[in-house]
């Protein structure tokens, strides 16, 4: 039903600690890949982000895969980047997504196409993520398109944004978070958190500005399966992975990396849950989606709360 709220929004509004995960659509047209991943996550998470050509690699569209996910018991969070579509295409696709019953939308800049498998392509960036959030809020509240004309049945998404608490320049990133929330973001998913102490400091600033009261802050958790994956994460610009965690993984020894990876994630979740103002976690188990049910269960976050 149009206007009716989705799961994720209801869970957050009733004050429960939300759990979401990610489904990466396949690099092909096989629906069964998405269906299988959705079935694994059913009942385990409140919603799942369906990525939009993540790292600029061509995959099944986020909206199509979101629909498949919703048909298979997992409420999707549609992702929309500003990289590939102009404002005409974005609005058109989003009207379609809303018509299909999809309720949540995460707006992103999008990784630059030079990272992906089509570095030869032209990018768009007609609007940036804040301009897009702002115009989608206006569409929802005032029933207008970006161009100014009336929209009779607007898309009324639960709007989300991303934030990287560890990106530079720190002060400006905080200004940007404020802008995202002012523009219309109702929930905010963070970049993967490994350094809880640093994240706690950041959350203190968030609370100081009262931002946690204006938008739900969902902390990102990555589960690493191997020593190599955590080492690789450590060198990604804008990622902060304390050396102790890498050492902990190394000390576990080959053969135990996967269980240690889960152990690290569980400890992170436990610590992060204690931080005031964090409304939920967002699990990114890249290439290891099947671990999510175990992780959520062992974190004591099952069963998921019923919607009141």
């Amino acid at each position: 039903m149009p206007g009716e709220k989705g799961n994720l929004q209801k869970i957050l509004e009733q004050g429960a600690f939300s759990v979401s995960a990610e489904i990466g659509p396949p690099m092909g047209a096989d629906a069964s890949v998405v269906i299988k991943k959705a079935q694994e996550l059913k009942g385990v998470v409140d919603a799942a982000n369906i990525t939009d050509n993540q790292t600029a690699v061509v995959r099944m569209s986020s909206i199509a895969a979101s629909y498949l996910s919703s048909m298979n018991g997992v409420e999707p969070v549609v992702q929309m980047t500003c990289r590939d579509r102009n404002r005409i295409a974005i609005q058109s696709d989003l009207l379609g997504a809303y018509a299909l019953g999809l309720k949540n939308l995460l707006v992103l800049s999008g990784d630059h196409q030079s990272f992906g498998n089509h570095p030869q392509s032209k990018n768009v960036f007609d609007v940036d993520s804040i301009q897009l959030l702002y115009s989608l809020r206006k569409m929802k509240e005032e029933g207008v398109f970006m161009g100014g004309s009336k929209c009779k049945s607007p898309a009324e998404f639960f709007l989300g944004a991303t934030v990287n608490p560890f990106a530079d320049p720190e002060e400006l990133q905080m200004i940007r978070l404020r802008k995202k929330i002012n523009a219309g973001a109702q929930f905010v998913q963070t970049q993967a958190i490994y350094d809880v102490a640093k994240f706690a400091e950041w959350m203190e600033k968030v609370r100081g500005l009262g931002l946690h009261k204006k938008a739900y802050i969902l902390a990102g958790i990555v589960v690493n399966k191997s020593l190599k994956s955590i080492e690789m994460t450590q060198i990604v610009p804008g990622m902060l992975v304390p050396c102790e965690l890498v050492e902990r993984m190394r000390a576990a020894g080959p053969g135990n990396y996967d269980s240690e990876g889960v152990g690290i994630a569980l400890d992170l979740i436990e610590e992060i849950r204690k931080i005031e103002g964090v409304s939920g976690i967002h699990i990114m188990a890249i290439g290891w989606e099947s671990i999510v049910p175990t992780l959520v269960a062992r974190a004591g976050l099952l069963p998921r709360p019923a919607i009141e």
């Binding site: 609007v127 940036d128 990106a167 530079d168 802008k179 610009p237």
Partner: protein, 221 residues
């Protein structure tokens, strides 16, 4: 200025295939300054083409002419005699110069010798960077004099993406993050608070997206 670089010599040779001679037309403005298409470069290119032809046993001669500004009909008219006598014209002007030559000499084949790249500045010996995309609605007053349209890889108008690290853009370590530069300037100027203002979606009609542009100044017509 307009920054350009000379094309690969093989590509230039391919374009000249079938011609026994050419006039290499240098341009005296931007491309002279960026050392791509001035008199010196034209003389050098002509020599390289002639020597290369001789080595391959092909007949080819190249003459050089210097045009003060290829984007100005007045200066093209001055070069008319020589260019009308040319078998073909190899222009070392920017894209505008090449096209203006083609317009002025409809019976001549005009070949570009440069790749025209961007509006930029010289940052040291042999190093230029892009500064402006000619968007037609300059917002530098709001961004501390650093252009987010041309210098942010994603043309972000409202602050840095999550890929900004240690002052560099996510696309590579050689590219400064425009938003780090904007931040540094605005902080220094004590105007950081201004960046809280949401910069609305752009009207790209003033840019290339509105179709090819023309500037019409009644006061000087």
């Amino acid at each position: 200025m307009i920054v350009a670089e000379q094309k690969n010599i093989d590509e230039i040779r391919d374009s000249l295939e079938g011609f026994k001679s050419a006039v290499v037309a240098a341009c005296g403005t931007c491309v002279t300054v960026c050392m791509a298409g001035g008199e010196k470069e034209a003389l050098r290119l002509a020599a390289v083409l002639e020597i290369g032809a001789r080595e391959r046993g092909v007949q080819f001669s190249a003459d050089v002419i210097c045009i003060t500004r290829q984007c100005d009909m007045e200066f093209l008219a001055e070069a008319e005699d020589k260019l009308l006598a040319a078998e073909c014209i190899l222009s070392l002007g920017c894209g505008a110069g090449v096209q203006f030559l083609a317009e002025k000499f409809p019976s001549k084949v005009v070949i570009p010798g440069l790749n025209t790249e961007f509006i930029g500045v010289n940052r040291g010996l042999g190093y230029w960077t892009e500064m402006c995309q000619g968007c037609g609605d300059c917002l530098l007053a709001k961004t501390g004099g650093v252009c987010p349209v041309a210098r942010c890889s994603k043309s972000n108008f409202n602050g840095p993406c999550g890929g900004s690290a240690l002052g560099k853009c996510e696309i590579n370590e050689d590219t400064d993050c425009a938003w780090q530069l904007i931040y540094d300037r605005m902080k220094r100027l004590d105007r950081l608070e201004e960046l809280l203002e949401i910069e609305g979606a752009r009207d790209w009609r003033t840019s290339r997206d509105g179709g090819p542009r023309a500037a019409c100044r009644e006061d000087v017509r």
